[in-house]
C-alpha cells in the first residue's frame, strides 16, 4: 500500500503526449497502406524495385531521382500532389508522424500558460514555430 499520495501529473504534458501518441499510431497505419500499395501498383512513376536497386547500388540521391520516371528530386509538395502513389503515401505517413509534434506543442503551450508557466509557454510557442518552419524548406541549402 502506498504510504503517500501520488503527485499530480501536469495536464500540459498529458495533452502533448496523447496528441503525439495517436499521431504516431495513425502514421504507422498510413505507412503500412503505402507499403502495400507500393508493391501492388504496376506502371507506377516510382517503382519500388528501381528505388531499391538504385539505392543498394550506391547511387547518390540526385542520380536516383534523375534516372527515375519522375526525373526530378521530390519534395513534400510532390509527395502530397501524388498521394495516391504508394511511395508518396509512405513518405506522407512518416511525415504525419513527424508533424504530430506541431499541434502537440501548441496545445501544450496553452495548458502551460493556464498553469502560470508563462516562460515555458512562450518557449513552446517558439519551438512550435521553428518546427512549423522546418517543412517549408526555407532554410534548406
Amino acid at each position: 500500500m502506498p504510504t503517500k499520495r501520488k503527485p499530480p501529473i501536469p495536464v500540459s504534458g498529458v495533452v502533448y503526449g496523447e496528441i503525439i501518441y495517436w499521431g504516431t499510431c495513425i502514421s504507422a497505419l498510413l505507412v503500412l497502406v503505402g507499403t502495400i500499395l507500393s508493391f501492388l501498383e504496376t506502371g507506377s512513376s516510382v517503382s519500388v524495385s528501381y528505388l531499391l536497386d538504385a539505392a543498394l547500388a550506391g547511387k547518390n540521391v540526385e542520380t536516383i531521382w534523375a534516372s527515375s520516371n519522375i526525373q526530378q528530386v521530390p519534395n513534400i509538395s510532390f509527395y502530397i500532389s501524388t498521394w495516391t502513389n504508394g511511395e508518396s503515401l509512405t513518405v506522407i505517413g512518416i511525415a504525419a508522424g513527424v508533424l504530430s509534434v506541431i499541434p502537440a506543442i501548441f496545445f501544450s503551450s496553452v495548458y502551460l500558460w493556464r498553469s502560470n508557466n508563462h516562460i515555458f509557454a512562450i518557449v513552446a510557442l517558439v519551438s512550435g514555430f521553428l518546427t512549423l518552419l522546418a517543412p517549408t524548406g526555407w532554410f534548406s541549402p
Binding site: 502506498p2 503517500k4 501518441y21 504516431t24 508522424g97 502551460l112 521553428l130 534548406s140
Partner: protein, 346 residues
C-alpha cells in the same frame, strides 16, 4: 544505471499490456508483411542472388526490430546502432542512411511519449527547456550534412565516415567508463536560473512506493551541451539518446528514470525538425525507411518485455564491442576514401 533502466522499461512493459491500439498495430504490421511475402512476387534485386524487394523489406523490418530491442535493453537510441552499421558496411548513399537513421532514432521516442507523459515520468518543462537547443542544433546539423554532401561529394562522404568513426569510439569509451550515472542524484548548490524557471518537480517512484522530488541544476551548461548533441544527431543521423541522458542526469542532476523518459520525448521533438531538410532533398526514400520505422515501434515494445528476463549488462557489453568494431571499420573506410590508403579491415 542498468537497474534503473530496467525499472524504467518494466514500467513501459505494464503500459503495453493495457494498450489495445498498439496490439492492433503489431497485428496489422505482421499481416501486412505476411501478405507481401505470400502474395507479391516482385522482380529480384540485382546483386542480391535470390533476394526480392519484399525479402529485403522484411529483412529490414526484422533487423529494425532487433536494433530496437538491443537499443532498449542497452539504453541507447536506435540511431546509434543503425547509422554507423549502415555507413560502415553498405554502399547506400550517406544522405539516405542518415535520413533513415533519424527515423529510427525518432519513432520509438514518439510512440513512447504518450505513456511517459501519462505516467508523469517525462518532465514537460525540461522537454521545452531543451527543445530550442535540440531543435536548432538538429536542424543546423542536417542542413550542414546536406550542404557538405552537395559541395564535397565523395570526399564529404569519406569525411563523414571518418568523423563518425571517431565519435563512435568516443561514445563506446563513455559506455565503458560510464558507471557514474546515479539514480537519484543530489546537488547541494542551488541553481539561480533553475529557481527562477521553477525547474523543480516530483514523480511517483513505483519501486520506492513514494514520490521523489528533484531540482534541475547547471541550466546554462546543459543548454550548450544539448545544442551540440542536437547538431551531432542531425548531422550524422544518430539521434542523441546516448548523450541526452548523461546531460540530464549528470549535469542537471535529474533522476535517471526521469532523464531516460525526458530524453526520448525531447529527441523525438528535436529530430522532427532535423528530418525535413532530408525529406525536401529526396533523401528519405519511403520504401526503405518504412520497415525501419515500423520495426522501431514494435521492437521497442518487445524490448521492454524481453528486458525483464535477460541480463542487460551482457547486451551492453555486446553493444560496446559492436560500437568499437563499427568505429574501426568506419575510420578505415574514411581514411581509404580521403587519403587513398588501403586499410586491411573486413
Amino acid at each position: 544505471m542498468v537497474k534503473a533502466k530496467k525499472n524504467n522499461v518494466v514500467t513501459k512493459m505494464t503500459w503495453t499490456k493495457r494498450l489495445p491500439e498498439l496490439q492492433f498495430l503489431i497485428l496489422c504490421t505482421v499481416c501486412c508483411y505476411a501478405f507481401l511475402e505470400l502474395f507479391i512476387t516482385p522482380s529480384q534485386l540485382s546483386g542480391f542472388s535470390g533476394l526480392s524487394g519484399v525479402d529485403l523489406i522484411l529483412l529490414s523490418f526484422l533487423l529494425s526490430v532487433l536494433v530496437a530491442i538491443i537499443s532498449v535493453i542497452a539504453g541507447v537510441g536506435g540511431g546509434v546502432i543503425f547509422t554507423p552499421l549502415m555507413l560502415a558496411f553498405t554502399s547506400i548513399d550517406t544522405l539516405i542512411i542518415r535520413s533513415t537513421g533519424l527515423v529510427v532514432a525518432m519513432f520509438s521516442g514518439l510512440v513512447a511519449t504518450g505513456p511517459f507523459m501519462r505516467k508523469g515520468l517525462a518532465d514537460i518543462k525540461l522537454v521545452f527547456l531543451g527543445s530550442l537547443p535540440i531543435l536548432t542544433g538538429g536542424f543546423a546539423g542536417s542542413v550542414g550534412a546536406i550542404y557538405m554532401a552537395q559541395s564535397m561529394g565523395d570526399t564529404g562522404d569519406s569525411l563523414v565516415r571518418l568523423l563518425l568513426g571517431l565519435l563512435l569510439m568516443a561514445i563506446a569509451t563513455v559506455f565503458v567508463l560510464g558507471g557514474a550515472s546515479t539514480e537519484y542524484p543530489e546537488h547541494n548548490d542551488p541553481s539561480k536560473l533553475g529557481r527562477v524557471l521553477k525547474l523543480r518537480h516530483m514523480y511517483w517512484e513505483d519501486s520506492l512506493q513514494k514520490p521523489v522530488k528533484y531540482k534541475a541544476h547547471n541550466i546554462k551548461t546543459a543548454i550548450g551541451l544539448l545544442f551540440v548533441v542536437g547538431f551531432t544527431g542531425g548531422f550524422f543521423g544518430l539521434g542523441g539518446g546516448w548523450a541526452v541522458v548523461p546531460v540530464l542526469n549528470l549535469v542537471m542532476s535529474v533522476p535517471l528514470k526521469v532523464s531516460a523518459a525526458t530524453s526520448g520525448v525531447l529527441l523525438a521533438m528535436g529530430n522532427s525538425a532535423a528530418i525535413w531538410p532530408y525529406i525536401n532533398v529526396g533523401a528519405l526514400i519511403g520504401v526503405i525507411a518504412a520497415p525501419w520505422m515500423l520495426g522501431q515501434i514494435i521492437g521497442g515494445i518487445m524490448g521492454a518485455h524481453i528486458l525483464a528476463s535477460i541480463k542487460a549488462a551482457f547486451v551492453r557489453k555486446v553493444l560496446i564491442v559492436m560500437l568499437f568494431a563499427t568505429s574501426a571499420k568506419l575510420t578505415a573506410r574514411g581514411i581509404e576514401g580521403l587519403f587513398g590508403i588501403s586499410v586491411p579491415l573486413i
